[in-house]
Symmetry: C2
Subunit: 392 residues, 2 copies
């Protein structure tokens, strides 16, 4: 069945960063109200609500779905559900919203992604995120995600060549892009040389990953309003979800080839196929650069370059601002920030801006098609979406 | 749109109790394999998987959806998603499965509910469950669920009369029913007198709730296979989901009347309406007796008795085994056990047995219609389903 009968008709996005005064509830409530205001619909018109949040110990709120109802008394008695797929929880909530609409049970759906991370120490955050690893193998359970992606970078060097300079180029690009994004967590130019040099201000986090290869610990939230084809016509702006595909892989690392990124590849290629477009048709992409090595591997999964040659997408300028297919104009998880459960919704909310001519930050001029790729764990829960501009 | 176009075609159910040797992964894998075997379908035929699990600190596995894929290599690359709505997480997963089928994106869906609780101390379990309360009010966040339902029982006495003897009758009934259920956690006759008397073996847990008013800490899992109307015809057995309704209420207690149970009432009445049946048509009900006072309030939400008179449903024998509308023939959460994220799926799995003439435990002879009610928090996430026998 065609998923292009669901559209995004409004969006909202908080500032990303260390939002000391905001609780998880504040983040959820503010972005819910902002999305309703952006849609210019009454809360009573919303048929169902979905929340993407990872949690895993980041906050004590173990049952957050109904917190969305706190935004407006008219939301009382609406169905509200939390969806979780680690760092792709936001996309899991969007997928659930799409299914609710295509099922015929809802015409207008609010999807929120939110995460409150900075009230924890770095040790606590690392522990919570490690909950997204496989727990039933002592060795794997003991790995942090930076160690895990560090392992992938080391394997990449063994199999092909050192990915470190490409990774530094990715970091420098995404930091530069974030300079224009007022909602990004970091606004600091980071030169390629800085990112490519281990130093006191850029130490190893998990060899060979350096500080600049890692995304951030972030508080933030984003929301979108989804509408059925029929209902979408009544909105001023419309961006169609031409294809959204979810592919889950095995959780244990031991059952997978780390570098193959098979789940991402299948999700992306299948979403492109569903939308009946090729890479040539895309005007921009926002992809899951939780670590710079991940963005490099995603270039290869997209087909921008053969396996082991992702660096060419950088060297040829393809993925740069102004290039043929700019990647992470927002600054990406690397510099925009990565409030894990919010990230998938953030990608869709920012793409809505791009495709309706009101980008937050750098523009992909006259963009018609955008590709979004959000993942949970290391290529375990993979979601790719192709969006098309309809009405600005 | 009619939800009766989704059916249950197979089910599986673990033993409930203290399953010391089983990890969360074991519980999920075993029940997934058992459901596939019961359906007599190859794993490759499953289009999507949904998992209900609450967690909130019970286990370190913060990203469990892909654990379902561990059951069979052919599940690799299928979409798998965790849904959470506290103790109604199992029903949240079922609702997501129904939407996936009605959306046209899936024909055959596997839904698993699982929870591993007993590897924690009582203090840890109480803390994890308290994560389902409202965290942004210090007073509410400090309440355990037994204190909360104790408050409801105290308010009931103030407004109507003491509910304690009705609560004891519910405990005695559910323990008696569980005697016939080989999968139940407790197999022990508990007399009305024992349940209605505070003693060394039946102390106050949270006044006026006694030990026998509280459900159990349980490990367990259940699974069902859902099929589209078209696909269901190819299965030997079929139970139609005639109506499933989800209603969420505000999380903070301060915004609600505890005794009104408005969310449960709306969900149940709306599910009955959707299925075009009345209480008279029902042959059995399984309802969320996390505390005996909850079952009493659910009688009133169902309309079995006016508010404040739920005890009449017991006195008149309506809800007893052999009565007009037996409630919790399985033993209920009270005696069958309550692995929180599994409970909603357990209700549907056992109802599948009842409605295909192979009950696990006590029978509702020649049953055609069953009502299921599962809730998260105190009447916060409310799911009611009406099931109808199609083919045994």
């Amino acid at each position: 069945m065609a998923t292009d009968s669901v559209s995004i008709v409004a969006a909202a996005h908080s500032r990303f960063g260390r939002l000391t005064d905001a609780t998880l509830e504040d983040l959820i409530v503010d972005v819910t109200r902002a999305a309703l205001a952006d849609a210019q619909v009454a809360a009573s018109e919303i048929d169902a609500l979905f929340l993407g949040q990872f949690n895993s110990g980041l906050v004590p709120d173990g049952f957050p779905a109904s917190l969305m109802l706190q935004a407006d008394p008219a939301l009382r008695f609406k169905p509200a559900t939390r969806c979780e797929n680690a760092c792709a929880s936001g996309s899991a909530a969007i997928q659930a919203g799409i299914n609710a609409i295509l099922s015929g049970s809802a015409e207008l759906v609010l999807v929120v992604g939110a995460e409150k991370m900075t009230s924890n120490s770095t040790v606590q955050v690392t522990k919570a995120l490690a909950g997204a690893g496989y727990q039933h193998d002592a060795e794997e359970a003991g790995l942090s995600f930076s160690q895990l992606f560090g392992l992938a970078a080391a394997q990449y060097e063994q199999l092909y060549q050192s990915p470190l300079s490409a990774m530094a180029a990715i970091a420098a690009k995404n930091h530069a892009n974030a300079m224009a994004n007022p909602l990004a967590q970091m606004h600091k130019v980071m030169s390629f040389e800085h990112c490519n040099t281990v130093s006191e201000s850029n130490p190893y986090i998990a060899k060979p990953l350096r500080l600049t290869d890692c995304s951030l610990v972030t508080d933030g939230a984003a929301a979108i309003v989804l509408a059925s084809a029929k209902r979408a016509r009544q909105f001023r702006r419309e961006v169609a979800i031409k294809g959204m595909v979810q592919v889950n892989d095995f959780l244990p690392l031991s059952q997978r080839n780390l570098l193959a990124f098979e789940g991402p590849q299948r999700a992306i290629q299948s979403a492109l196929g569903k939308a009946q477009v090729t890479l040539e048709d895309l005007d921009f992409a926002e992809v899951h650069d939780c670590f710079t090595i991940a963005e490099l591997l995603i270039y290869e999964a997209m087909g921008l370059a053969p396996q082991g040659q992702g660096h060419r997408a950088l060297e040829e300028g393809i993925v740069q601002h102004g290039g043929k297919l700019p990647v992470n104009l927002s600054g990406g998880l690397k510099a925009k920030g990565h409030p894990v459960g919010a990230t998938g919704v953030s990608m869709h909310a920012l793409a809505f801006g791009q495709l309706t001519g009101k980008p937050i930050g750098l523009a992909a001029p006259n963009a018609e098609f955008g590709l979004l790729f959000n993942m949970g764990g290391m290529a375990v829960a993979n979601y790719a979406s192709v969006l098309q501009a309809r009405r600005a």
